[in-house]
């Protein structure tokens, strides 16, 4: 469970989130939707404990957090396989396991390639594969399908949906069909600054 209690987050003069209250359950999928700049990514960062609210608190019961960032954040000097292995524990970093994740995200042919040789779509898939391979009980995805075409999205979505069954998953999207694809509850980010998450 994650409880947001009266959280406020400001960046200088600009208040992005103000007195926001919400409780996420232990499991389930939630899609954060709202106009650009409304505070979706800021909220995701607060959930990931990468940021702290000025006021209020984020109460977590989750121990292992995984995230696919908006930018892939891959290490340019490691190949695809090693980028994946880097975040995996010793028990999970076997070649078979990394190959399995690369195969699921249709990256088997690029296992030994470096990020600079990958397309934006491939980088995003690798970033998603890393987040899912890492596991954890809280999965955060910032616009996970933004660089994927429709056909790829349809093929990749079941793997993410499978992960959603074992973890609380919160993702940012601009496309309502993404929420349907992952069986997620849509949370509309309302107010400027963001002060309400309303379910539909």
């Amino acid at each position: 469970m994650i409880e947001l209690r009266d959280i406020t987050r400001r960046f200088g003069e600009r208040t992005v989130i103000e007195n926001l209250n919400f409780t996420f359950p232990d499991k389930g999928a939630f899609a954060l939707m709202g106009p650009s700049g409304c505070g979706k990514t800021t909220l995701l960062r607060l959930l990931a404990k990468l940021d702290r609210p000025e006021i209020g608190s984020v109460i977590h019961s989750h121990r292992k957090i995984s995230m696919a960032f908006q930018e892939p954040r891959l290490l340019p000097w490691l190949n695809c396989e090693d980028n994946l292995k880097l975040v995996l524990s010793k028990d999970n970093s076997s070649s078979e396991n990394t190959q399995k994740w690369l195969r699921l995200f249709e990256l088997s042919d690029t296992a030994k390639q470096y990020p600079s040789t990958l397309s934006g779509c491939m980088k995003q898939r690798l970033s998603l594969a890393r987040a899912l391979a890492f596991g954890g009980d809280l999965l955060l995805l910032d616009e996970p399908f933004s660089a994927l075409d429709q056909a790829l999205k349809m093929r990749i979505a079941p793997h993410i949906r499978e992960a959603c069954r074992h973890a609380l998953t919160v993702f940012v999207t601009h496309d309502p069909s993404d929420a349907d694809l992952l069986g997620a509850t849509v949370l509309h980010c309302q107010g400027s600054p963001l002060n309400t998450l309303s379910e539909t």
């Binding site: 990931a48 892939p72 954040r73 290490l75 340019p76 000097w77 880097l86 990958l118 890393r130 890492f134």
Partner: protein
């Protein structure tokens, strides 16, 4: 239209050297005063006769050792100082004036001052160290500050160990800056170290060879020792950079900072 034949790329530096040696030769012949400007041939023959003596190799070896030890100490010290001054702003403010002082003080002043404190034999090592230290320090510090924050954030989120962060992010990010530091520091420290040897004239040193040949007006020997300095400088720089760039390309660490975030 007839095509003008082009020279192979490798021949251009060689031709450039031949041109300047030719110009030197011509000037020496026209000038006609070998005491002031010897010909390249007399310099080369003097160098070969020096090379046939055991003391030449001892001299070169000892000079090389003094200065290389100074450079290595500067690489270690500069890196440690950079780590300290990035971690602590108090340390940064405390040590910053020392950095400015090292950069601004004329090397001759430091040489004479240090000569009084530590004796002539240790001055070249110290001077090589003190000249290379600020370069290594400022470059490595810049490298540490420029490490991609997004990658560090990713590492923190996925709970990477300190060892993994060091090996997978810190060192590869730092390497281009370290390489740049080596490039500048080696050449400067070598020249300053030899200058210290000239002024302090420790036993069995290239600097003493230069000093004595100037004292006794053996200009061809002066030129020969200078040639030795130039050749060793080029060899150290070439060797060190070759080694470091090999490590860099094997590990794929050559990515420019702006390309770091894929």
């Amino acid at each position: 239209m007839k095509k003008i034949p082009t020279l192979p790329r490798w021949s251009l530096p060689l031709l450039s050297i031949l041109f300047w040696v030719g110009a030197w030769w011509l000037l020496a012949v026209l000038f006609g005063k070998p005491l002031l400007l010897p010909t390249p041939w007399s310099v080369i023959t003097t160098l070969f006769s020096l090379m046939r003596t055991a003391s030449f190799w001892q001299t070169v070896g000892l000079s090389l050792m003094r200065i290389v030890v100074g450079i290595l100490l500067a690489l270690i010290g500069g890196t440690l100082l950079a780590l300290l001054t990035v971690k602590s702003s108090f340390a940064h403010h405390l040590f910053s004036p020392v950095l400015t002082l090292c950069k601004a003080t004329p090397v001759a002043s430091i040489i004479f001052l240090v000569l009084l404190w530590i004796g002539r034999d240790r001055v070249p090592l110290f001077i090589a160290f003190i000249m290379a230290l600020p370069i290594v320090w400022s470059n490595v510090r810049e490298g540490l500050l420029q490490t991609d924050k997004q990658l560090l954030e990713m590492a923190a989120l996925f709970g990477l160990s300190a060892k993994d962060k060091l090996l997978a992010i810190r060192i590869p990010s730092l390497f281009p800056y370290f390489l740049a530091a080596c490039r500048s520091a080696i050449a400067l420290a070598w020249k300053a170290g030899i200058a210290a040897e000239v002024l302090c004239a420790p036993k069995l040193s290239i600097g003493r060879g230069i000093y004595e040949s100037k004292q006794y007006l053996m200009t061809d020997e002066l030129f020969a020792w200078t040639l030795v300095v130039i050749l060793i400088s080029a060899a150290i720089e070439w060797g060190a950079l070759k080694l470091l760039t090999k490590v860099q390309s094997q590990k794929k660490w050559e990515v420019e900072p702006r390309d770091r975030v894929a």
